[in-house]
Amino acid sequence: MAEQDLKVVGQSVLRRDGMSHVTGKTQYIDDILLPAMTHLKMVRSPLHHARIRSIDFSEAEKVPGFVRAFTYKDVPKNIYTILCLIGVGPDEEPVLAEQEVLFKGEQIAAIVAETEEAANEAVARVRLDLEELPPVFDVEEALKPGAPIIKPWGKNHFEYEGHHCRRIRFGDVEKAFAEADYIVEGCYEPKPIEHAPLETTGCVAKPEADGRITVYTNTQALYFSMDNTALILQVPFNKLHFVGGTVGGGFGGKVDVIVEPIAALAAMKIGRPVKYLYTRSEEFNVSSTRVAYRIYFKDGVTKDGRIIARKVISYADAGAYNRHTPYAVTKHAANITGPYMIPNVYVDAYCVYTNRVPTSAMRGFGVTSASFATEVQMDKIARTVGMDPFEIRLLNGYRNGDMRPYQKVVGDATLVEVVQAAAEMVGHPVREPYKSMHSWDRDYSPERHQPLQAEEV
């Protein structure tokens, strides 16, 4: 197609939903007002780790407008894990807590009432009898012998195909450390971050006359939510109709399936629409955050600035439950060398459970933490060997044909050109030979694992 025929490529196109947004006509979850709609509020754990002895609803039931309370006994398949849809297991997160709670704010019982005020009042009157258990908050403490064990399989970490962590073994790091001129170590701890969308997480579930449940939700993952809800409710997928697409800010914070299953169950059981929308306080205190990591680096570097070995031990804090963190850790391990060719790599990346609020997806999750650590480490290496930070990146950057530590050949290298362009944009002089480097110029050598010739890629 000739370039002049293109109507959109190369043009600034107005947003399809822009008119609706600027007139306030976009319908968010809180804007849905249905006849006979009820409100769901959650009884939450006031403790970080506890055994549930009993729950007493007798005072809550007396609140005018109280409709019904739900516990785990009402949930057909109470224990799930969101990523079961892509083969992650075992199931480990309860929709509503059974015998134990693993984080402060964990959902224990759902109260449905005629009004939001009545639901809040009833929640306040539920009496919990809890036996406090010792919590663990630190990823390394959680893996030590004698730490409180919070998972039924007896270990506070996710199992990767029978292994204690996600591992990468590439070349021989110990041999390369012995040959290196410098050993550069670092510890990096990117913290959890709350997505804080302007619209809080929520949904409205509406029972239809034909037995189906329509769920209006602000999830970022509509079919993921529907499929998990169907599994939890043990109903065929075609009994659920999920309506979404409008998300008042997500950033990865609305891919966990937390509000839809219990709202849909409640709607099914009471035969009326149920609204379950997080308060701002819930959004901050109980919704997933970005994953926190503690990442230990040990790099072997030659005096001319080549990184010849990297050993990384990384601990991801999943909080109390999986959510999306086991997957994040795999991405994290794969990206821990950054866009740099390192011929000897050893990675142990742990997905650790603690009694913190569960962590999950957020913008590039797994990779952003790895990139942060890698790039700070690159500057540290540059200072150690006395090199320019741009030039050390040009020297070590991937070339086409390089083998990544997870056994994939690089075929789309662009780092060299990007760094050169960035240096020019900020007015930073780059000398020869770095100025003439390009993504196809690797001087191939045997220790670079027999990469392909450029023409073959």
Binding site: R15, T23, G24, E199, G249, T279
Partner: protein, 160 residues
Amino acid sequence: MASKIVTFTLNGKETEVMVKPFTTLAKALRERLGFTATKCGCYEGNCGSCTVLVNGDPVLSCILPAEDVEGQDVLTLEGITPQEGLHPIQQSFHENYAVQCGFCTPGMIMISKALLDKNPHPSREEVAEALSGNLCRCTGYDPIIAAVEQVAGAQGGNHG
């Protein structure tokens, strides 16, 4: 405590609404009167999404008791939206991509209107200051400020 009828002017029309004590203006507008263009991101007066104008001044409707607008003049986003087309501020937000998820947008437009009504030619600093109580999490502040500046510039042109 008994419910009470509050009579006020809403977008130029005399309006009555029956509310319980402590019902906020935002709840009255959204749930009792169906004016849902006003959004609530926090229900605690922190995010600015619920901004409406009372007698031309911006207020956080999510913490203002509805009873307080008795006899007052309330303007919401519905009130500035023309039958056809868009208000110049709306048009500018749309054309400047000052909208991402859209949730903060109604509050942003109302606070901008309050500013431009009082100060038709604000400096960039005055625009940023006026918007400082309204949160956007999609990191859209730059285009939002640009949208308001463009309206101010156009007004300058009109007034010659």
